[in-house]
Symmetry: D2
Subunit: 337 residues, 4 copies
């Protein structure tokens, strides 16, 4: 931690800070520059991080040297983590594709989609039973009934199930049916929910918040790991920017950057990341070329009747064509689909 | 709802859309322009809003005519709503100031702050017992113990209590102690939590999400009102932008804009909105001049020992000076403090 | 300057950096932490700033201690600068209001506006003769003819003239007619233009770019001052964010923050900052309450016939009413209008 | 154009609007909804676009049906444009890579880089002779001397030259030496400069502004084309967002989106788009997989001595390795390198 003092900081103020640092069991080094004095603090940075150093008299700014996350960091674990989702391994050579409708709407439709995406090469079925919707008047999901449908299609197709949990009270229920618990973008900083899924035995798919920095994203993952669950997959799904011709701005920079900072697998959601089905193919190819370990894609046999997100859903035949185009890209970067 | 067709939309596609619209019991008007055909749809726009019209073949874009919220809108209720918080009225001529520490830390400290802010003119005591923290390693709040301290200081000072609830499971508990339930910025789209506080008898203080549009903010308030709780106060607390020399960008445009769109009271949080205690005074004055109905301000007798947000907390004496400077500004815009 | 090394930095890499620092005539201090080694560099930070230290092997990140601007800083000059615009003093006790149409359209209209805003208390007439327009098909301004009209109205009313210069080739021409040269938001980083107005004898009104940080804003002003022109007024006019219900997000935090960082006067443009005439009054009051030294406001007698920016222009009678409401706010913060 | 009226719009206000529309030679259709009346206007939307309809009494909002650009649009020209840069064709099957240093620093260094990037497969040499720098105290480029060096290396290697022009006064000079005129991100809305390069016979490389929407980007290109120069290549180079762990957020969504909206070639700048050399390889692969027609990459033999942008520059050997990795990705999407 580096503490930069104001040009008019007094000796008394400096001594006061040094005293505090000492009380915390840390060592400080004062360095007198031409225009500024700075204090470097050596020792457990976490002890200092909780101190509001910027509130101390004489302090201009405080700069952190170390990263605020540990367990998720590449420094904690050098090799890539591989997350096992009931047998499907995410983070290895094989690119894992999750596909399915935005919302679970009915059993027959879901079965149809499940069979289709399975045939095209998807390994995990996505579908929302609990749906976070901006409007209280929109379809809010089928709840447990939707979970049962997902399970039904799992039995039928062998696809594993990923589905969102939105409420701490529902974690136990969703765990019963799902192979992987999705924490949605709006809940990336719902810390109580993160703690609950961190206590679960099921792997977690953590989506990045639409206005979360990569640092905050990794700190939310730290909540999951620090509660004991190391099976956490990160998902870049677009951030909110000024650009309004796409639903979000897919931040593919995040893929190689997170891979360098963390050992956790990273997948990409090109459906939410663009909001337009006709951009999904190009951005799926880009995601894999950037190094993503997988994709999560919305597929619906009849997007115009979808209860949600129709505009960004692929028809099963378009999804199939996309998967065929992805295979050579995966190969070009040393992966397989 | 206006549906703009692609230049190459076929007659069959147009007929298909008209058919759908008809089935929903709505009327469509086709208008043939020089470069584009558009379809105007007349009737309950909500029926259409849930249709993914952009997924229909031949459609280029869909434009909404009406606002997606109802109960919170100025059109639903012309006069300003006044929210009664155990006798303190928010939304009337009097500017209501809520003040207190970021976190409740101990009873004695809280009592001291409570007495100080009361003496300076605050009417409501703020203080977090449950704290959303980016890092799992930061202080997470005292929980029920903190709530008891708040209640204790209420008895002592007569200040009303506003405190955050973060988890659907805690609503019942927090209701027992608080006069007003705060939903924090990170939970503005925690829809299950919004439903729960919407079912409460206690007024709600809803903070704007750091990347929420004003439309989304009002739709979240719509969740509260549509569940039966019309005692909802909105709080602008800064949005996330590229500017990094302040913690957030306080969006004061939101104050007069929301007052024109909605009947609900609007208050401003200059502490989070700037992240710097030395900007809090100026931005408090600006908020009131812009038409805010109140303020929520962090005050701590010893910011350098605060468990959280020390850098943006005012000393009680600075808070007192600020209140004195606010009074003439309130008067200048026809309000009182 | 603090150089943070990677955990795997070698002694050779560290020595290499120390060697470089030494060659520049600077002194380095190595500090060995538990997880990281850091190198503090003492001496002229500017010498180092031009070195791409992050490109050196073994370096993780580089943190600046000092601000990159000098002449504009509060440290360079403690007291507030007052900019004299042909007798109108900006930056003193008196709030200076600049008002007029977005574009100069014709002499009679301009004269009418000029007389009206003068009567309401404006001291400077604004109006664009050269107009930056997103579309090549929009009205591009009257050019020199517009400048002559402005000058004509100056003679008639005594108002001083501020008008935009967009092209290095036009600086000489605009100088002939204008009392103050405006550099628009789109040109805030048109460095050649900044140099030219920096060489001018006329004061400069520098508008903040829509995506410029306050640091970059001050560095652009540094271009003006470092070329010899210390008569520079800064203008906050809204930044681009995700919020789309206003044209821009007016960043009033910038007002007290810039006043603390710099000695230059700061004014606010509530017309562009909101894009909606019905928010201009509230945000003008807020700007003054936040500490602004002046305002620049769009006024048009017939907004629906304005060649540009009609939606954000005030009618002269609304402007007059606004000025009357501003006076008590100015007084409440110890200023006068 | 759709004009949505306020709920309280009077018949007189509606008639007034219809009258105006009629005077412009356009036809209006009034449609009475349950909550709102709307007026659809048929005819040349451009005639209306310049009218500040939102300033008319009774108007709530105005919605555009048509795009504001013409010549750059896919509707104007269905097939892809191919831009010929002294024989190098951009926009065809072959991916064109432009590479070189941020700034031209000296002849020998430039020659070395030129030979290296040529050997690795680059076809165009990039290098700045005029440099836009945030600080007046940073290296500002060699000017004409730099242009001569570029020309020298062109003779030596056969590489074509792209270099930035920042000032309308320099267009003639830069044209003499360059094969392609670059308009930088900061000048994307320097409309006078756009007009000048639009009058040039040399092709233009137009970089997207860091806070420009795709619509604004295309409208800036419209300035170039509408002045007669159809040889315009667009470059996505990252936009400014809240994310601060990369220098910018590379918006690859823009690539397939612009390809669908416009016939112009699109290239990507992964060096500025990330600001980190170790992300350049991954994002180059992603850009090509997303459909980019080319890349522009910073390469420097000794990044730690670069006068600018060292942190994002590749060593020639890393560039060479990257080119080898790009080839199979290009092939996987049906292109060649």
């Amino acid at each position: 931690m580096i503490i930069v003092l104001r040009p008019d900081a007094t000796k008394k103020q400096i001594d006061h800070i040094i005293e505090k640092v000492k009380k915390l069991g840390l060592k400080s080094m004062v360095s007198q520059g031409i225009e500024r004095t700075i204090i470097g603090v050596i020792g457990e940075e976490d002890l200092l991080r909780v101190q509001p150093l910027e509130a101390y008299p004489g302090v201009e700014k405080v700069m952190s040297i170390l990263k605020p996350y540990k367990l998720v960091s590449r420094e904690f674990k050098k090799e890539n983590s591989i997350v096992d989702t009931d047998g499907v391994k995410i983070g290895g050579k094989k690119i894992v594709v999750m596909a399915g409708p935005c919302s679970v709407e009915n059993l027959e439709g879901l079965r149809k989609i499940g069979r289709a995406v399975k045939a095209s090469g998807a390994l995990i079925l996505r579908g929302g039973a609990f749906k976070p919707r901006s409007s209280p008047y929109s379809f809010q999901g089928l709840g447990e009934e939707g979970l049962r449908y997902l399970n039904e299609v799992k039995k039928d197709t062998g696809l594993k199930i990923v589905t969102e949990v939105m409420d701490t009270r529902d974690v136990e229920l969703v765990e019963k049916y799902a192979d992987m618990l999705q924490v949605g973008a709006r809940n990336m900083q719902n810390f109580n929910l993160l703690k609950e899924v961190g206590l679960s035995k099921k792997p977690v798919l953590l989506k990045r918040g639409i206005s979360s920095t990569i640092k905050e994203f990794l700190m939310s993952a730290e909540y999951v790991l620090s509660n004991g669950n190391f099976n956490c997959v990160l998902c870049e799904r677009g951030i909110r920017t000024f650009e309004d011709s796409t639903r979000f701005t897919l931040d593919l920079n995040a893929v190689p950057l997170i891979k360098s900072l963390s050992h956790l697998p990273v997948i990409v959601d090109p459906s939410h990341g663009t909001g337009k089905w006709d951009l999904v193919g190009a951005m799926s190819r880009a995601a894999i070329a950037a190094g993503a370990d997988g994709l999560i894609v919305e597929v619906h046999p009849n997007p115009e009747d979808a209860y949600s997100d129709g505009a960004q859903s692929l028809l099963p035949e378009k999804f199939d064509a996309m998967m065929k185009e992805l295979a050579p890209v995966a190969k070009a970067v040393g992966r397989e689909l």
